[in-house]
Structure formats: C-alpha cells, structure tokens
Amino acid sequence: MHETTSTSVDLKPKDGGLLAQFKNPTALAAACEKVRDAGYKKWDAHSPFPIHGLDPSVGIRPTRLPWLIFGAGITGTSVAILLQWWTNAVNYTFSISGKPFFSLPANIPIAFELTVLFAALTAFFATLGRNGLPRLHHPLFNSERFLRATSDGFFIAISSDDPGYRPDSTRALLEAAGAEAVEHMEDDSQINAKLPRPLTIVLVTAFVLGFIPLGVIARARTNTSPKPRIHVVPDMDSQPMFKAQAAFSGFSGFADQRAMRQPVAGTVAMGDRHLDEHLTQGIVDGAFATTLPSEIPMTRSTLERGRQRFNIYCAPCHGEAGYGDGMVAQRAQALGSPKWVPPTNLHEPRLRSQPFGQMFNTITHGIRNMPAYGHAIPAKDRWAIAAYLGALQLSQNAPLSAVPQEQRAALK
C-alpha cells in the first residue's frame, strides 16, 4: 500500500495472494471446506464450469437477485399499462373500429412483453454488476497456470487483502488441503492499471471529435438559413404542378402556358347547367335570395335534414350549437397552432342578418379558410342546412316574446 503515493520507477508488483490448483472438483470442494473453516473471507474458487454442491463448501449464500428481477418485471408491467393508457386514452385519443380507448385485453400483449424485457435486461446487467464485471484486469490473469481455469483447471485463490492472509501459513494450509501446485499471484494493478497509450489517444480523439456533429446540430437549431432544407427523402414535398399566382417552376404547362385544357366551346360540364339561379346559386334578380327556393319547403323534415347535415359537415368546426367551438377548433386551440384561423361564431349579428342565399353561397364556395362544400353536399341539402342555420340562430337569440305564452313560465 505504501507504493501508491510513490511515483518513482521502481514500482514492483505487490503480492496479490496465493493461487492453488487442484486435481478435480472433488478435491476442490474438500479444499474449499478447509479454507472456509480456517476463517478466510476474501477468497474464491475458480472452475471452468459450475460445480453443483460447491456453494456450501465455499460458504455462498443464495443470491437475492431474483427479487430484484421480480421487481423489474412488475415495473415493466406498470410502465406498459401506463404508457398505453396515457398515449391512447389521454394524450392522443383516436377511435379505431369503435374499440374503447383504454381496453385491457388489447393492452395485455404489450404489458407482457415489457414485463419480460425489463426483467431480462435487469437480470443480465444486475448479474454482471454484482459479479463486478466487466473487469478486464485482475491479478489472477497474471498467472500462466490460471489460463486453465476456463478449460480444465480447478483453483482456489486467496487474496492478500484477507485479514487472515500470511504468505507462509496460508501456503501451508493450501498444500495440506491437497493442492497440486501453489503459487503467488502478482498484483500489478498499481502499475498496469492504466489503459495502453494508443488506446487512450484513440479514445480521447474520438471524444473530442464527437463534439463536432453535436456542434453542427446545435448551430443549425439556433440559426435561420435562407437556403431551402436538404431533402434527404423528397416524399411529395415538391411536385411539378401548376401553382396559382406563382411563377412557373418545373412545370411548363401546355403550349399555351395553361395548366388545363379549356372545355370545348359550347359545352357544359355534367351537372354544371345552372338554369335555376335561385336553387343552384341562391341568387334572385342579381341579389342573394332572402327566401328558400320553392323546391325546399320550410317544414319540420327539411329542418331535421338540415340539422343532420349540419352536424356532419359543419359542426366539427363550428360546433353543434354554432359558436365556433367544434372538436377540430378545440384541438387546434389546445395545440396552439399559430396558423389556425378560428371558425366563425355563427351567432354574430353580422351573420344573423345574412339572407339565406348568402349562407347558401358561403356553403357552396367556402370563405377564407373554410373550404367549399358545393361538390360534397347536394344543393337541396345545402338549402336544408341554410334553413336549419336560420332556425339555430333564432333558437340562440330568440326574444321571450317568440316563446308561446303557456311555455314562458318554464323558462323563468
């Protein structure tokens, strides 16, 4: 121990203890019992394979690793259940074929897999850790004889750190226990414990160089660049296509610089023959119609139809009551997307005074961020929605006088 403070070149390997070789497992076990009974603590038996029944001779008590592994398994189960619950039932609810968001039968397979995974990883690393491995440098490895410990040699090694260790008496004990050969182990860990020089250089260089990519990433994250990003995988980010109000790039269009052909002169596309302006465009005498067209009677069934269509097409954004608080709007708000334009509250005075024809027109052609629904909803249904919308607006803003006399009491 006195050498640890010294830096002079006359370092010598110190005595690491004694190594004794035995003929076979039987001799080893007998010797182990003698060493154990002599009261040694820092010693061990070494063999090329596990010898059954040796543990009591060495004085090994059952390991408690199984409990640790069991705990890790339970942790794995809990983590799996929590993960599935939080991701699929809390953070990102998504209905798939009507299955409940959180459904234990469907969560059991992954819970099981993670139980095994956690337990197995713990078993592996805890065993290595408790065994003090990896440990590439050990006094035992200085012995030429000990090379046979992984082939067909049976050894007992008593460390010089053992309080009962005396070079002479310990050697005598081992010889009396039937050792075929006893030799000193050299503990050169004070001298050779350092990594070899070339390896050190490689490791240090790698460590330093490792910061370069990190630096590049950090720089890219904190700076803006005018250059377009590198498309490692182009996906469908840039497609050669006509873009309205943009200079042509990559797409030259037809010879006349148009992106599409014009219809043949004098033809009308299928379904594009709008003879009845009131019904198909909501216009009467050049202004938005204030009434429903004659094909759409203002009846209960029209309003029912309108409500149903409204709840399918409009409510996701505008909300079932029309206040602009549909599921999509709520989620966009929760995400805080800066590009999101909130849907209009349909009960604004501006909208309440709109004629039916204008509502119909907005549904048909869309407005601002709202897409056009003309292609998706037949004209009669669009009228039904407009009619329902009128009723909805009335329902949310009706004066008390509009309520029949006999029901007013219930509202108060």
Binding site: T26, P48, V58, A106, N131, F141
Partner: protein, 476 residues
C-alpha cells in the same frame, strides 16, 4: 484430434434400454477433450475451402438481397406482387416463416433447460444463434414493407412533432414489441451463455488481436464460484422468462391474423397452433444445419445420434400438433355453420391455391410421420431430407393462410389472384443468404457448443462424496 471418421455403429447411442441412461457425450472425451474439440474450430489456422465456398454463395445472396431492397425502396412496393386484395402476401409469409424458425432455439435453450433435458447442452448454442439470425431475417420483412421505411420509427412510441402516438390496440404494434423483445432477449440470453466460453477462447488465444477481441467480449470472466452461483440463478431466470416469451411471440404473430374477421384467419386455436408450428419448423431447421455442421467440424461425439433422434421426436410431436390444428379448423369450419368459413376451407383444398395446400399437407403432416420409423429418425441424411421438406411445408403453411384467405374474401367481386414477382422470389432466397452468412461467421468464430454446460453434465464434473464410498454412476 478433431477429425473422427464417422461410423454409425460406433456412435449409436439411441438405444432405449430403460435400465441405463445412454451417454450423451461419446468417445473418450474428457473435460480437456471437450475444450479441444470445440475451441479447436475457431482456432483453426486455416479456414476450410468448403466454408469459403458456402460463405461466398451466402454473401452473394445477401448482397442480392441488399440490391433488391434498394430497388424496392427506390421504386416502391409495386415491385412486389402484392395487390388488392392480397396486400400482405409474400413479405408477411417470409416474416412469419423466419420468426417461426427462431422459436426452436429458444425452446432448446430455455424450455428444455427448465425440463432438465440435458441433451440440450450440445445443441443449445447452435440453436440460439439460429434464433438470433432468424429473428434478424424476420425483422427485415415488415421493416421494408412499411413503404416509407425512413418513417419506420413511427412504430415506436417516440414523441414526435405531430403529437401522435402509435395505436396500441393494433396487433401489428404488438408484433413490434413482441418480436423486438424476443430479438433482444434472445441475444442477451445467447451472449450471457457464451461469456464463459469466450473466456476459454481468450485464455487459449495466441494472437494479440484474438486475445483482445475475445478478452473484451469475455468481460473478464474468471470462473469464480460466486460468479457461477449468480450466473446459474440468472440463467435459470432468463430461461423462465424466455419460455413464456416464446409462447407470446408466435401467439402475437398469430393475432395479426386471428383478430381479423377474415374467414380462415379468425379462429381461436391460432395462438397455440402457431407456436407448435414455429417449434416444428425451427427444429427442422436445427437438424438441417446440425447434420452437415457436425460432420464438417467433427462434432459427432458431442452432437450425437441421440441428439438428432430426440429432435426428430420433437418434430414428430409438433408436426402432429399442427395436424391436429388443421383438423380442428376443418371440423369447426363445418360445425360453426358459417357458410363463408366452410367455403374458405373447401377453397383451400380445391381452389386455385390447392397446389400450395397439398404441398403444405404432404410436407407438414405426412412427411414427419416418417419419423415413426426408427431407421429414419436415426439416419442423419434421411432426417435431413425429411426436415428440408418440413421447412418447405411450413413456408407454404404461411402462404396458404395468408394468400388463400385474402384472395377469397366475403365478396366474390373483390376476389383476386396473387403471384409473386422475381423480386419477391429473389428476396426470399436472399434472406437465406443473410441467414447463412451470419451462421457461417458464427460457426467460424464462436464456440458452437456450450463447453461449460457440456462439461457440467459430464461424470467428472461432479463432487464425489467419498464418505459413502460409492462408485460414481454413469448417467446422463
């Protein structure tokens, strides 16, 4: 010392005499002899010509697989024959086939360990390696089937900028977890078992580089009794964990099919039936590999006829279980009174894919029944032939399940026919290239038999209690 002239008579330890256990390690091998035979293989100064030829072929096929994968990714999934309605087709067949192959390795290393089947020690390393390589081959197929493979990380619960999470209620995601866990745990188990043997190679190494590599891999193992104590306990626990794991993996694979309502896929026996089929095909693969390897590397004394015969019996058993499942499916298809279910099974046997069905039945149900004959199950080359047929049959089983059901759905207007493209076929062959490349590297550089475990079951390895004075009995 490693070259032994093979002779059937000399090594026949397949006798059934109930009064004595047949020896599992033959010849005059002592503890040092086992080390010499096994460690001698990676220590050969010169690699044999046969190895180089096999390796050359395997690497070329693996290279072909790489090129075809590049072609697939660059061009798109259309280079495969997958179509609508047969959207899963060949890739999932290959996936299930390879996962199944892997199962025998875990069965041998874990389940037979728990059942104290000592004959496993000679073949477990071998079979575990096979597991790891087969799982690698298996994972490639769903990996490249996702289309945009650079987004494959979406399969994992990694937080992303879209604030989306994977759908944990989908059996396909269960697969990711099941096969991923399986691959990882199998590798750990394999490596864990190998640590003492790597230490043996370290201590026998002469070259500096070998010493450094084996030394680093052996993690400083020194055979301490305290280490062995924890090691054995953990090995047992890993085996106990791997056993339900192996059941779960192929069960989850079967869920991919069985949770669907498609006739021919939705049947409750799928989980155990898939597991039995997996073990069946895996054992056939072990024999296919072991028969040539034991002759090439002179391992006849360690991987004896008895080992091969036992494996043949497992094949017979699991093959019959698979036959039982086929029968139950047919019976219940009728018993259920469900017209589409009934049609599906008639269609399998007599429809456009009847050829595949009858290949499956003859290879999977009929071929293994040959193992009732002692002569066949104790003659290596005959076993090899039967096992190759079993492998073919098990590949076709997955083909029949996937393709016949998808191509004949509830709606006749949605029916179709699937035929593979050259890319499909090339990738199947190429996956064998990957498998054999890895396997040949394993044979060349790693101890192929678990030396420490073999030694531990030898009579010399026991403490002989002299106080009773009995002679040590020779047992296995």
């Amino acid at each position: 010392m490693t070259s032994t002239v093979y002779s059937d008579k000399e090594f026949d330890n397949t006798g059934a005499d109930p009064t004595a256990r047949a020896p599992l390690i033959l010849g005059d091998l002592d503890i040092q002899g086992v080390t010499d035979v096994v460690a001698g293989i990676p220590e050969q100064p010169r690699t044999s010509k046969a190895w180089w030829i096999a390796f050359g072929i395997s690497v070329s096929l693996a290279g072909m697989f790489g090129l075809l994968t590049a072609h697939l990714i660059y061009t798109g999934t259309g280079v495969w024959g997958n179509n609508i309605p047969v959207g899963w087709a060949w890739p999932i067949v290959n996936f299930v086939f390879w996962v199944g192959i892997g199962h025998a390795g875990t069965l041998i290393s874990a389940i037979l360990f728990l059942l104290r089947q000592r004959w496993r020690t000679s073949i477990n390393r071998f079979a575990e390696a096979m597991t790891v390589f087969a799982v690698i081959c298996a994972l490639i197929f769903p990996g490249i089937h996702v289309g945009r493979i650079w987004l494959a990380y979406w399969m994992f619960p990694v937080p992303n900028q879209m604030e989306m999470w994977p759908n944990f209620r989908s059996p396909l995601l269960w697969d990711v977890f099941a096969v991923g866990t399986y691959g990882l745990v199998s590798t750990l188990f394999w490596f864990f078992g190998m640590i003492p043997d790597l230490a043996t190679l370290r201590d026998r190494a002469t070259g500096c580089i070998r010493k450094a590599i084996y030394g680093a891999l052996a993690l400083g193992w020194n055979g301490s009794a305290r280490h062995w104590h924890r090691y054995e306990r953990t090995y047992l626990i890993l085996a106990a964990l791997a056993t339900p794991l192996v059941l779960s993996v192929h069960s989850v694979v079967s869920f991919d099919f069985a949770v669907a309502v498609l006739p021919g896929w939705h049947t409750t026996i799928f989980p155990p039936y898939f597991v039995a089929g997996a073990i069946f095909s895996g054992f056939a693969m072990v024999i296919t590999l072991a028969v040539p390897a034991r002759i090439i590397f002179g391992l006849e004394k360690l991987i004896t006829l008895r080992h091969l015969e036992n494996m043949a019996k497992v094949i017979l058993t699991t093959g019959s279980m698979v036959g039982y499942a086929y029968g139950m499916e047919f019976f219940i298809a009728w018993y259920s009174g469900n017209a589409t279910e009934g049609f599906t099974f008639k269609n399998r046997a007599f429809g456009p894919y009847a050829w595949a069905y009858w290949i499956m039945v003859s290879c999977n149900v009929i071929a293994p029944q040959l193992f009732w004959f002692k002569k066949i199950r104790s003659t290596p080359w005959l076993m090899l032939i039967v096992c190759i047929f079993v492998n073919i049959g098990m590949w076709f089983e997955r083909f029949v399940i996937t393709v016949t059901s998808l191509s004949r759905d509830f709606l006749p207007s949605a029916w179709g026919y699937y035929s593979p493209t050259l890319v499909d076929i090339g990738m199947l062959i190429g996956s064998f290239g990957i498998f054999f490349t890895l396997f040949l590297l394993f044979l060349r550089f790693v101890p192929v038999v678990a030396m420490a475990e073999v030694k531990a079951i030898m009579p010399e390895a026991h403490i002989h209690k002299s106080s009773h004075g009995e002679e040590p009995a020779h047992h296995a």
